[in-house]
C-alpha cells in the first residue's frame, strides 16, 4: 500500500470516529445541563478546551453561549474538528480512496455527508438535537459495521483500525475530561445523587452503561467508572482496550518495533495510574498526560508509514 494512501485511510478512520465522539461529547454535556441543579451547571465553554479548539474559537470572536458553541462544534466548517467538518474530511479522504474502500462504504459515506448537511437545522434546535446526534452516532456505527463486514483484512484495514482506535482512545479521554471539572465542593453533603448522575451520564454517552453493569455488578461510583472507561480490557471504547487494539494491529505491519514501544509506554501509564485516589485536578492532569502518550504513538505511526512532511508541502503547492 502506498504511504500516501496509508496516511489518507488512517485519517479517514480518525475523522469518522471524531465525528461520532464529538456527537457523544455534545450529548453528555446537554444531558449534564438538564440533570444538574442551577448554579452548578458546567456550561459549554469547557467543550471548546476539551476539543483543543480554544485558539480558533477565540479568534472567531463568537459569544460563549450555548447556541454559538453548539454551532461551532457541530456545524462550523471553519472549525476542522466540528462534526460537519469531520464528516466532510472523511468523505474527501474517501474520494481519494475509492480504489481501496468497498463501494458500498463510499456510497454510504457520501449519503451521510449529504444527510448531515441537510439535517443541520435540527442539530441547532434544542428540541431535536438529541435525535440529530443519535443519527450521527448510528450512521457511524453502520459504517463501522460495513467496513468490518466487507473489507479484506489487508494493510488498508490495518491502517483503518489504527486510526480508529487511536482516535477513540483520545476522544474517550476527552469525554472523561468533561467530567473532571470540579462542579461541586468535594464531599459536600446533598450533592451525592447529582455526582452519581454525572458518572452515569458519562457511561451512557459512551454507550457503556449496560456493559458496565454486566462487568462490574456494582452501583455507579466515580472510581469504578473511571476504572471501567480508562482501564477495562473488554469494553471497546475504554482507553486501554483501544491501545491494546493499536498494539495488536501494529504488530501486523512491517517496521513497527519503534511505535510498539510507544504503545507499551501508554499502556504502562494507564496500568499504573492510581484511579481510586485521584482527585479532580489530578484526573485532569492524568488525562493530559495520557493524551501526550497518544500523541507519541501517532507520531511514531506517521514517521514509520506516512510520506515525509516535505512531500506534503509539495502537495499543497500543487493544489493551489
Amino acid at each position: 500500500m502506498l504511504s500516501r494512501v496509508a496516511e489518507n485511510i488512517y485519517w479517514l478512520a480518525r475523522y469518522l470516529d471524531r465525528a461520532e465522539n464529538t456527537a457523544r461529547l455534545v450529548n453528555i454535556n446537554s444531558n449534564l445541563l438538564l440533570d444538574l441543579p442551577p448554579g452548578h451547571r458546567p456550561g459549554w465553554l469547557a467543550l471548546i478546551d476539551i476539543t483543543g479548539s480554544r485558539e480558533l474559537f477565540d479568534a472567531r470572536k463568537m459569544r460563549t453561549e450555548e447556541r454559538d458553541i453548539v454551532h461551532f462544534l457541530i456545524a462550523d466548517l471553519d472549525n476542522p474538528g466540528s462534526i460537519l467538518s469531520s464528516v466532510r474530511s472523511a468523505r474527501e479522504n474517501a474520494r481519494t480512496l475509492r480504489d481501496v474502500l468497498p463501494n458500498e462504504v463510499w456510497e454510504h459515506m457520501n449519503e451521510l455527508f449529504m444527510e448531515t448537511k441537510d439535517a443541520l437545522p435540527a442539530a441547532l434546535s434544542k428540541r431535536t438535537r438529541f435525535h440529530f446526534l443519535q443519527r450521527i452516532i448510528r450512521g457511524m456505527q453502520t459504517l463501522t459495521g460495513e467496513l468490518e463486514g466487507t473489507m479484506s483484512r489487508n494493510d488498508a484495514f490495518t491502517l483503518l483500525m489504527l486510526g480508529r482506535h487511536l482516535e477513540r482512545a483520545d476522544m474517550t479521554s476527552r469525554i472523561i475530561d468533561v467530567r473532571s471539572a470540579q462542579l461541586f465542593p468535594a464531599d459536600a453533603p446533598g450533592f451525592q445523587p447529582f455526582d452519581t448522575i454525572q458518572w452515569l451520564n458519562l457511561l451512557k454517552s459512551l454507550s457503556g452503561y449496560q456493559m458496565y453493569r454486566l462487568s462490574r455488578r456494582t452501583r455507579v461510583s466515580r472510581s469504578a467508572v473511571l476504572e471501567f472507561v480508562l482501564r477495562d480490557s473488554q469494553f471497546p471504547r475504554a482507553c486501554l482496550f483501544c491501545l491494546k487494539q493499536v498494539e495488536h494491529f501494529l504488530s501486523a505491519l512491517p517496521r513497527s518495533a519503534g511505535v510498539l514501544e510507544g504503545v507499551a509506554g501508554a499502556c504502562r501509564f494507564l496500568d499504573t495510574a492510581k484511579l481510586a485516589t485521584v482527585d479532580q485536578p489530578g484526573l485532569h492532569a492524568l488525562i493530559d498526560q495520557l493524551q501526550l502518550h497518544i500523541m507519541v504513538v501517532h507520531e511514531g505511526i506517521a514517521q514509520a508509514y506516512f510520506p515525509p512532511p516535505a512531500a506534503v508541502t509539495a502537495q499543497s503547492q500543487a493544489q493551489k
Binding site: L2, R98, D155, Q315
Partner: protein, 483 residues
C-alpha cells in the same frame, strides 16, 4: 401522458431513433414501443431515479473555477439510450481500428526515419511547428512499436446519416468510465428492455485495458506492477482515474508517490518501502510528466521518468510524444496516412477541412467565415472555437485577425448538423444533438469499445456537447438484430 412521435421530428435533422414519418427505425422499435407504454410521466419518474442513483454512486465530474463548496457535480445522464445496429457498428469499429493503426505508424515514423515526409505525402513544416512534437522521443522504440495505446475518437453523424470522424484524442482521452457507469444506471431504471433485447455489454473495457497494459511490462518473468498516474483529486477526470484503478485492481498513484532511483527504474513509496513499477497508465499531459525533461515547475510529475522510459525500464501509456498526432492539422492527413501506411481506402471519412496554414485555403476560409466553424488545432473541450453562422461580426473580425497572424494554429470545417436522439427535457421528449466517443485500445490486438460514450447537448438547438459546457450523456446501445 402518451407520446406523439409524429410531432417529434424537426425538418432537416437526422434523428437516430425516429424516421422522417414518425416511425421507429428498425433497431429502436422495442425502445420506442416501451417509451410509448411508459408515457412521459413514468419516464420522468425513472429519470429521477437515475439521477438519484448517480448521486448516491458518487459518479461525478469536476468543474474548474467553481467557487467554494463542492468541486464535484453529479454526472448528467439522460436515460433514453442512443441505439446503433450491430451491423453498422461493426463497420465503424473496423474503420476505427484502421485509423488508429495508421496513426501509430505515423507517430513511430515521425520519431524515426520520417518516410512519409520523404515520400512527399506529409509536409515537414507541420512537424517542425508542432506543439506536441517531443524531441526527446526521437529514436526511441517503445514496446510493440506502439505509441497511442488508448485513443478516444470523436464521431459525429451529419443530417444525411453519415458518420464522420471529428477528431482523434491521443493524449489522455477521458469518458470511458462514464460509458460503463451509464450502462449500470440505465440497467437499473429500464430493466424490462434488457430482458427482451440483445444489447451488447460494455463492461469488458477495464479488463481489456489491464491486459493491454500488462503486455507492455519490461519484466517478463514478473507479475507486472501496473499503476494509474493521476494529477490528483482536483483534476476534472479524477473520478475516472480512480474508477479505472479500482476496476483493474491497480494502485492509483500521484507523482509524489513515485521516484526514479539510481538504477533508472521507477519506484513507489509504500508502507513496506520502495516497490518497483513496470507499467504506468498516465493521465498526466506530457508537459507535466517529468520536470527534468519538460516543464521544470511541474509538481505533478516524476523527475527522471523520461530517462527511465527511454531506457525501457518502465512503460508509459500513452507513450510520451504520441500527442504529435493529436493536432487537427495532422488530422486532415489521416486519410492519406491510411493509404500510405496500410495501402487501404479509409473506411470512415473525415469531416471536410480547410488547412488555414495553406495560403489558398486560408483565402477561402477568410471569405466564408460566416458559414464555417474555425477550430484551434490543439483545442479540446469545445473552447476557443468560432461558430461562423452564429458569431457576431466582431467575433468574426477577431478570428480573421488571428487566422492571418497564426494560420498554422487553425483549421476550418463546414457546420455539421449533428444527428439527434429523443431526450427527456422539460418533462417531455424533445430532439437533442449528440456525438459519440468510442475508445480504441492498441496492443498485441486492437480492441474497440462496444459503442462508446454518447454526449448530448441539452440546450435546444445547441451543438455543444461538452459536459463542462452544459452537455449531458446517454447510454449507447449496440443492438444485435440477428440475435
Amino acid at each position: 401522458m402518451s407520446i406523439d412521435w409524429t410531432r417529434y421530428c424537426a425538418a432537416g435533422l437526422h434523428d437516430e431513433l425516429i424516421g422522417p414519418g414518425g416511425g421507429a427505425r428498425v433497431a429502436g422499435r422495442a425502445l420506442v414501443r416501451h417509451l410509448s407504454e411508459l408515457g412521459s410521466e413514468e419516464i420522468g419518474v425513472r429519470q429521477h431515479a437515475a439521477e438519484l442513483a448517480i448521486k448516491v454512486m458518487g459518479v461525478t465530474f469536476t468543474v474548474y473555477h467553481q467557487q467554494g463548496g463542492s468541486i464535484d457535480r453529479a454526472w448528467p445522464l439522460d436515460i433514453i439510450p442512443r441505439i446503433i445496429a450491430a451491423k453498422e457498428w461493426n463497420r465503424i469499429a473496423s474503420g476505427l481500428k484502421q485509423r488508429v493503426a495508421a496513426l501509430n505508424h505515423f507517430i513511430d515514423d515521425v520519431y524515426h526515419a520520417q518516410r512519409i515526409v520523404k515520400d512527399g505525402v506529409f509536409p515537414h513544416y507541420i512537424i517542425a511547428s508542432s506543439k506536441n512534437f517531443r524531441a526527446n522521443c526521437v529514436g526511441i522504440n517503445p514496446p510493440q512499436g506502439c505509441w497511442a495505446h488508448i485513443c478516444g475518437t470523436d464521431l459525429v453523424r451529419d443530417k444525411d446519416g453519415t458518420f464522420y470522424v471529428l477528431e482523434d484524442n491521443l493524449r489522455v482521452p477521458s469518458g470511458v468510465s462514464y460509458m460503463i457507469e451509464n450502462r449500470q444506471v440505465v440497467k437499473r431504471v429500464l430493466p424490462e428492455l434488457f430482458e427482451n433485447t440483445a444489447i451488447l455489454p460494455v463492461d469488458d473495457y477495464p479488463s481489456q485495458l489491464h491486459e493491454m497494459l500488462v503486455a507492455l511490462s519490461p519484466r517478463r518473468e514478473h507479475l507486472p506492477e501496473v499503476v494509474v498516474l493521476t494529477p490528483g483529486i482536483y483534476n476534472s477526470a479524477y473520478f475516472e482515474h480512480s474508477y479505472l484503478a479500482r476496476q483493474m485492481g491497480c494502485e492509483l498513484v500521484e507523482g509524489r508517490d513515485l521516484a526514479v532511483h539510481e538504477d533508472d527504474c521507477v519506484y513507489m513509496q509504500t508502507i513496506h518501502g520502495w516497490t518497483r513499477i513496470d507499467v504506468i497508465y498516465r493521465r498526466i499531459d506530457d508537459d507535466f510528466l517529468d520536470p527534468e525533461s519538460f516543464r521544470a515547475d511541474s509538481t505533478l510529475g516524476v523527475p527522471g521518468l523520461m530517462r527511465a522510459w527511454a531506457k525501457g525500464n518502465v512503460a508509459l501509456a500513452n507513450a510520451p510524444g504520441a500527442g504529435v498526432a493529436d493536432d487537427k492539422l495532422v488530422y486532415t492527413y489521416v486519410p492519406d496516412m491510411i493509404r500510405y501506411y496500410l495501402d487501404e481506402d479509409p473506411i470512415l471519412p473525415n469531416v471536410p477541412s480547410w488547412r488555414c496554414a495553406e495560403p489558398d485555403q486560408l483565402e477561402h476560409v477568410l471569405h466564408h467565415l460566416d458559414s464555417l466553424v474555425v477550430k484551434p488545432v490543439d483545442g479540446s473541450g469545445g473552447y476557443g472555437m468560432l461558430m461562423g453562422p452564429t458569431a457576431s461580426q466582431r467575433e468574426r473580425n477577431h478570428f480573421a485577425a488571428q487566422l492571418k497572424t497564426a494560420p498554422r494554429d487553425f483549421i476550418a470545417q463546414p457546420v455539421i448538423t449533428l444527428s439527434t436522439v429523443p431526450t427527456f427535457v422539460n418533462d417531455r421528449i424533445e430532439a437533442r444533438h449528440v456525438d459519440l466517443r468510442p475508445f480504441i485500445l492498441s496492443g498485441p490486438k486492437t480492441y474497440v469499445t462496444t459503442g462508446g460514450l454518447t454526449r448530448v447537448a441539452l440546450r435546444e438547438g445547441s451543438l455543444v456537447v461538452n459536459s463542462s459546457q452544459g452537455g449531458g450523456s446517454k447510454d449507447t446501445w449496440i443492438v444485435d438484430m440477428e440475435a
